[in-house]
């Protein structure tokens, strides 16, 4: 028991007592909390600038332009005489789409013919493309429906019948959770989980590269360390998952009990993984760089921003070994979607399996290295202590 508490106190000291480890674990919180969300503060993309090339210059074309301009998604900010000038504006990123109303637009409508309109949307940016399409397609469809109904009525169809024939059913789309499609609401809850994992692993792996061997059985030492992590991150986890989201005005639906149940195996799994990373790369410099470089790939591997349906199966299987993969899924579902424990039971089991499996591997590695280094135990820490300076 005293071995356990020695290890517990040593790990607390290694994390909170070491200036560098402390700065990674605590300072990172402040900095990342300020810098990461900065690009997304605007939340919504409104009034994306679009160039109007109106070659018809009639009442009908002006009416169409007015309706598109009135949409929330786009604004017709520029007028250009031809496509060459319009494309130039798009190249300069002063506009992200071109609406071309060809000559003869109104005449064709009056004749009862089809009268096409061309929309060129900048597809090099996904969100811009989506908004430009949305902004033009909805008013266009409405105007088209009105014209179709008008023609039917002109041919003697009763008004109600004409409307029903033009659109037999009402299509309604209801976005659940993040109904306003805010970008910060979408990306930040997941990003905070990843930042939590990466900074935690960086700090703990750094502490591990500097650790001197302690007396006692590896099981007690490991349990003591794990207890120290849980103690420290019992304070930090709520900061990332509750306080930061509240500061950024994100919705929080999940209760603290469910969060704790998920956070417990997550902290353990990430802590054990950090021990393995430290054992594998040994030098603190390398550990830091590796964890820095893997942050973004881990995020995309988690299947949050890039749907898991699009990730090749073997890579996805590999991704399941990273704690952030189930943790992002589970924590986002709990905090943002109000999932209950039974609803995310598979995630919970997944995290516990990771914590247990990684813990056993760490134990095996440490038991073996302890057996190897017992005779030279005094030289080893001195050498590793130097290299980390």
């Amino acid at each position: 028991m005293s071995e356990l508490s020695t290890a517990f106190r040593a790990e607390l000291h290694a994390v909170l007592g070491d200036r560098q480890v402390r700065s990674i674990v605590l300072l990172a919180l402040v900095i990342y909390a300020l810098i990461y969300p900065l690009p997304y503060r605007a939340e919504l993309l409104r009034d994306v600038p679009v160039v109007l090339v109106d070659q018809d210059r009639t009442t009908a074309s002006a009416e169409l332009a007015r309706r598109v301009d009135a949409s929330e998604a786009v604004a017709l900010t520029h007028d250009a005489p031809d496509m060459v000038e319009a494309t130039r504006l798009v190249h300069e990123r002063r506009a992200f789409g071109v609406m071309l109303i060809p000559d003869g637009f109104e005449r064709a409508l009056l004749r009862g013919d089809q009268s096409p309109v061309a929309l060129y949307a900048d597809a090099s940016y996904f969100l811009m493309y989506q908004r430009v399409m949305q902004g033009a397609a909805v008013p266009l469809r409405q105007l088209g429906a009105e014209i179709e109904a008008g023609r039917l009525i002109a041919h003697g169809t009763p008004r109600a019948v004409a409307l029903a024939q033009v659109s037999p059913a009402n299509q309604i789309e209801v976005p659940l959770f993040n109904p306003a499609a805010g970008y910060a609401t979408y990306v930040l809850p997941a990003a905070f989980v990843l930042i939590l994992q990466q900074t935690m692993m960086m700090g703990l792996a750094l502490a591990a590269t500097r650790r001197r061997p302690l007396p006692g059985h590896p099981v007690w030492r490991l349990l003591g360390r794990a207890a120290a992590w849980l103690t420290i991150w019992a304070g930090l986890l709520p900061l990332y998952l509750i306080v930061l989201p509240v500061l950024y005005g994100l919705p929080i639906l999940g209760g603290p009990g469910t969060l704790t149940m998920l956070g417990l195996p997550f902290v353990l799994a990430a802590g054990f993984l950090a021990q393995l990373v430290a054992a594998l790369f040994r030098r603190s410099e390398v550990v830091q760089v590796v964890l820095l470089a893997t942050g973004l790939p881990f995020f995309f591997l988690s299947g949050f921003a890039w749907p898991v349906e699009a990730i090749p199966a073997h890579l996805n299987a590999l991704a399941q070994l990273i704690p952030s993969t189930p943790a992002i899924d589970g924590l986002v579902r709990v905090t943002q979607m109000g999932a209950t424990l039974p609803q995310i039971a598979p995630v919970l089991w997944h995290l516990w399996a990771l914590a247990g499996g990684l813990g056993l591997i760490v134990l095996a590695v440490e038991t073996r290295s302890a057996a190897q280094h017992t005779p030279t135990a005094c030289e080893e820490p001195a050498a590793s202590g130097n290299s980390s300076r």
Binding site: S23, I24, A28, I31, I35, L38, P39, Y40, A42, L45, T87, H91, L109, Q114, V117, A118, L119, Y120, A121, D122, A123, S124, L127, Y129, L140, G144, E148, L163, Q165, S167, P168, A169, N170, Q171, E173, V174, F177, N178, A181, T185, Y186, V187, F281, E285, V289, V290, L292, A293, L296, P297, E309, A310, I311, P312, L315, D329, V332, M337, A339, Q343
Partner: protein
């Protein structure tokens, strides 16, 4: 300077940690990132159907939903709360509700509602599900409208024409294949490389310019502080450019991303980008005087850099502060240059601005590194 460079190349295989950082790590990251996005688009995302009508029409809509490439109908829910629970637990990404008497109401002209619920917390997948469902339901309803018109004696062609008085001819500028994959990849690789180039350079510099290291030996060997620094940094510039080149070969060759612009401009941008990233690392080390603090400084600048590049949420819509922060990061301009010159075929006079910015960033950082270094070596000489 060449002597220092030769020494650096000679020492590299004997420093496995450094060699691992500059060669193995970027290559592994390249493989992983390439692997993630290789498949291209998400297909077969799970949706539930709440069919309270159980008519020919509702079955036709269900078939249309299942036939959409984005979607697979995996569950049939008996009510809304069951569907909601399926969405919350992640079993499905959306649900389509067809109310009782849907078919009868449509025939009577009462315009009933078909409602699509989708998980917009997972926005990228959610919007795809919503779009797939919208198109599938549209297709089913268009079939219905066509058959009504044909039953009134219109020819199929005529009926199709009258259904759409103003057809929208949508063109995707610059990216006709809608390939966001290669697009994301083309930005993610420089982002990760920026982190590695900065950190590895800081580490390499720390090995010679760190406390207790033989910085003066190096300076005597090169004959001055500028050649010493260049000799130290340039070997890694070459390595990172080779890696970047390899990723470009994979991207434009193997994955067949279009390359429409000036290779020459792209190449000069790449050199400036790698140099600027390295200067971030060198400056971080010189300011931090310690690899640990340097790594923290590098992390602050390069780790959140991806968001500021505007590939997800566009730069133009960010706050001025976020735009300014992004403008100070070399990766922002390099990725913009790549997009301009590979996909958009941007006229050179517009695209040159990105290269100019890269040059300014690299120049300012290099000047800061040199002034700091010479100040330190003067201090050391006095001591």
């Amino acid at each position: 300077m060449l002597a220092v460079m030769a020494r650096e190349f000679r020492l590299l295989p004997r420093r496995p940690a450094l060699a691992g950082l500059v060669v193995v790590l970027p290559l592994v990251m390249l493989l992983v990132l390439g692997g993630i996005f290789r498949a291209g688009i998400a297909t077969g995302m799970a949706v539930a159907v709440i069919d309270l009508d159980r008519s020919d029409l509702s079955r036709a809509v269900t078939r249309m939903l299942d036939a959409a490439p984005e979607l697979t109908v995996t569950h049939r829910a008996s009510d809304l709360s069951e569907a909601r629970s399926l969405i919350v637990s992640g079993a499905v990404r959306g649900a389509v509700l067809m109310p009782p008497d849907l078919e009868r109401d449509i025939i009577r002209g009462e315009r009933p509602e078909i409602v699509t619920f989708y998980d917009n917390q997972h926005m990228s997948a959610g919007t795809m599900v919503a779009r797939g469902a919208r198109n599938a339901i549209d297709a089913a309803l268009t079939g219905l409208r066509l058959s009504v018109r044909q039953s009134q004696g219109e020819s199929p062609v005529q009926a199709t024409v009258s259904l759409q008085p103003i057809p929208l001819q949508a063109h995707a500028l610059f990216n006709p294949a809608f390939d966001y994959v290669h697009f994301l990849l083309a930005a993610l690789i420089p982002t990760v490389l920026q982190i590695i180039a900065a950190a590895a350079t800081a580490y390499a510099v720390s090995l010679d310019f760190g406390t207790g290291r033989h910085q003066r030996v190096l300076m005597r060997m090169a004959g001055g502080i500028l050649p010493a620094m260049l000799g130290k940094v340039l070997p890694y510039t070459i390595i990172f450019l080779l890696i970047l080149g390899l990723s470009d070969v994979a991207l434009y060759g193997w994955l067949a991303v279009p390359l429409r612009g000036s290779l020459w401009l792209m190449a000069s941008g790449a050199v400036l980008f790698v140099l600027a990233s390295q200067m971030i690392g060198a400056l971080a080390f010189i300011l931090g005087r310690d690899m640990g603090r340097a790594a923290s400084l590098i992390a602050i600048i390069t780790a959140p850099a991806f968001g500021f590049m505007g590939l997800g949420f566009p730069r133009e819509a960010m706050s001025p502060l976020a735009q300014a922060w992004g403008a100070a990061i070399p990766g922002t301009w390099y990725v913009q240059l790549r997009i301009d010159q590979s996909l958009r075929a941007t006229p050179l006079d517009i695209s040159a601005v990105s290269v100019l910015w890269l040059a300014v960033i690299a120049g300012v950082l290099a000047a800061l590194v040199l002034t700091q270094l010479s100040r330190l070596s003067r201090l050391e000489a006095q001591a």
